[in-house]
Symmetry: C2
Subunit: 452 residues, 2 copies
């Protein structure tokens, strides 16, 4: 960057108007700084996106919140975004080894032996987390060993039963949009610990699926964007960041903006799409290549009523036969439209035609909730991995080796460049809550530097 | 893409003027097709790049060739590019656990026990490869198990000695520019088998380092480019590929070109930098995120004479203490300038200032070849991972899970889009030879379709 651009322009250029970027901008504006937010999409919210189905708001991306997620809960309260408990009266269903059965609680009772085994696996995963500092997992004495294998490899090495392995595969799919063999065991152990344990991470009552927003999660982003006003620029796809010690120049499809600092509030994998000049130390580039996003899809079907409730079913289900592998009931009430949400394995689903996707998802719902599920009044799905801009989700599926080699750089500022995004959070990494706290952390860091 | 562009323009648009892209273009031109090659850099050759040091051509990237690499050897012969044997008279050196000793052969004799252990590891790695079909490694009965852990995790699981593990780490660094914990064990086993075994891959005499080109490797690319003439367009960074069943429109910084088919002759990781519309099936995008490039640097020092030859040293050395960890003598003769080539661990090297990099590399040479090595007449280094355009090298360091889940897509055409590059080759994947054969394969596939 030519030296005559130093100090001109904004105090801070934020790249990405997901939760992390908007929160960072909001905090900095509160502190009196001059901020601009560049967003490549034509909307704010990032991996939070709300639309309607049968007149009911439904979340294509981030949906649920739960206890201890204080960063996002406090933000939502400030912005008057209300939650309600996720429906969970009645029995859950499991489709397993060709049969559908009902169960209660988070982990289905497969067989006395199967239950013992998954209990052992859960205990071992959490025990491995005890000596790991989630803020710097690479320092743990067993870090290299745990990072040298995948969750799948570890499950084999401890002789997990096929049922336990299949349950953990479902956990990996819904959590990271990836298979157990993709994900470093160190990442898995750290991620579970950052979410307060497997129960906290997977439960509805008392866990991360306890509540959802009847008006959707994107309203939170929309309200932050409304506060920020014309500081937020949509359709501004950033292609280049030039930097010196005390200035940045950010080129997007909307032109060039200059500032004193930049916050890149985007997933590590997407840092690759931005040409940074002068280049950062090699480790940053290697990190971006080794922190891939997973892929997860979602299908929603709306019915005139939540008919499964009549059969004392919660609408929650688990299936070992994809592509629909987890469901929830997100209906607004007993009498209005009944809405089933299905998490869908993107492999073998995203590539289908829209009509074929619909048939496949509805067949999955019907296998669990009966033939009535095949005739919804409305249907929609969303394939995050198939998006053209910033594809993938729900979060990073970090492979073996990456944390121990490149973890120290994950959020370490490089010159005037700072990093945010849920992947960089200590607690609730990968969740809405992590996105919010990462934006707060980056804003605080930048504010301290700009004031000094 | 609008339908009125179908069939207009070139028969084939090749993206990337590395060896794979140039070979593909050359074959297609020979067959009478109309071809254009778009290259983002201001030169051809990709990861092959030759410059001069003390008047002697030196290769910043791909350097060596050896027996069974028939694709590249035949091509070089056709283009009158001559090889000569890599210098290997005298003793090799090893710097290990703080001491420098001499040895002969490829694998140093550490101690009788150490030698036994590395022999056992080599035997086990090659035995695991026996049942793997290198063209489709995901079909092997043990594929999921091998792909579920890393080379590092596997070495721990079989109780490899610390010397064996350190030697394999050196092998991983020079081969993939990555650590053993980064690389899937299935990838490691398949890669070694594709190179004809560990001895063939690592040896000088009878192996992949047997010969080099006194005029450098880039001359091969330059001669192909000269044949192709103005069909090769430099400084054309491709940003977008639109496609329909029988046509492509490729947008680069040099404008839009249209064709019937495209060959993307770039590393899988760099497929991410190109916006493909309509989007490909999700697996292609996931593959690109899970096939990262490693990072490896090179340092060259030129002396008035190859003084180490006077002490009956081959110039070949191995060190367990980086950043210079492997050296070769690439001097043109006994009396001319003496040239030492050092492979350098990019971590902790690339980020240094140029002067500090020089000091560090020369100290590494001096630790092996004595204080005379600290005073070269010329010095240069190259950090492939720190390049702004298409950074990384020497080849992909494929993490656990990727081959079994996404391997089938590695070179499977998607509509009119074909894939080339050494990462897509069956034999000598990751070497110059694999690049050449991948270009031939892609050209043959495209020619067959265009003729049908």
């Amino acid at each position: 960057m030519s030296s005559d651009t130093g100090g001109v322009g904004y105090d801070v250029v934020v790249i990405g108007a997901g939760f992390a970027g908007l929160v960072a901008a909001r905090e900095l504006v509160k502190d009196g700084f001059d901020v601009v937010v560049l967003e490549g999409r034509d909307r704010v919210g990032g991996r939070s996106s709300t639309t309607t189905l049968a007149g009911v708001p439904v979340d294509l991306g981030a949906t649920f919140v739960g206890p201890t997620q204080d960063a996002v809960l406090t933000l939502a309260k400030e912005l008057d975004c209300l939650t309600e408990p996720t429906y969970c009266r009645g029995a859950n269903l499991i489709r397993w080894r060709g049969k559908v059965r009902s169960y209660r609680g988070t982990i289905p009772k497969l067989s006395p032996l199967g239950l013992l085994d998954i209990g052992r696996i859960q205990w071992q995963v959490e025990r491995l987390g005890r000596n790991i500092d989630i803020t710097k997992p690479w320092t743990a004495s067993r870090a290299a060993r745990l990072d040298g294998t995948s969750l799948g490899g570890w499950l084999r090495s401890v002789g997990a039963s096929s049922s336990s392995r299949d349950l953990m595969a479902i956990m990996a799919r819904v959590t990271w949009g990836a298979e157990p063999d993709d994900v470093s065991m160190l990442h898995a152990v750290r991620y579970v610990k950052a979410a307060g344990g497997l129960d906290r991470m997977l439960d509805v009552v008392g866990g991360a699926q306890q509540d959802h927003f009847p008006a959707g999660t994107q309203q939170i982003a929309d309200k932050m964007a409304a506060e920020l006003g014309d500081r937020v620029r949509l359709n501004a796809i950033v292609s280049r960041v030039e930097w010196s010690d005390d200035a940045v120049a950010v080129t997007s499809s909307g032109g060039v903006v200059e500032g004193r600092r930049a916050i890149l509030a985007i997933p590590p994998a997407h840092r690759q799409g931005i040409d940074i000049a002068p280049p950062l130390p090699i480790g940053y580039q290697q990190l971006a290549q080794r922190w891939p996003q997973g892929a997860l899809s979602k299908a929603y079907a709306a019915y005139s009523r939540p008919f499964w409730r009549d059969q004392h079913l919660s609408g929650q289900a688990l299936s070992d036969q994809g592509p629909v592998f987890i469901t929830f009931d997100v209906s607004p009430g007993d009498d209005g439209p009944g809405i089933l949400l299905g998490f869908v394995d993107s492999r073998g689903f995203d590539a289908l035609t829209p009509e074929h996707r619909r048939q496949t998802a509805l067949a999955g719902f019907a296998a669990l909730f009966g033939p009535d599920a095949e005739n919804p009044i409305e249907y929609l799905d969303h394939c995050w991995g198939a998006e053209t801009f910033a594809p993938g989700g729900p979060t990073a599926a970090v492979p073996p080796g990456a944390w121990t080699e490149f973890g120290p750089l994950l959020r370490q500022p490089a010159g005037p460049l700072h990093w945010a995004g849920t992947e960089t959070a200590d607690e609730w990494t990968g969740f809405l809550d992590g996105a919010v706290s990462s934006g707060q952390r980056a804003a605080a860091d930048v504010a301290a530097i700009l004031r000094s």
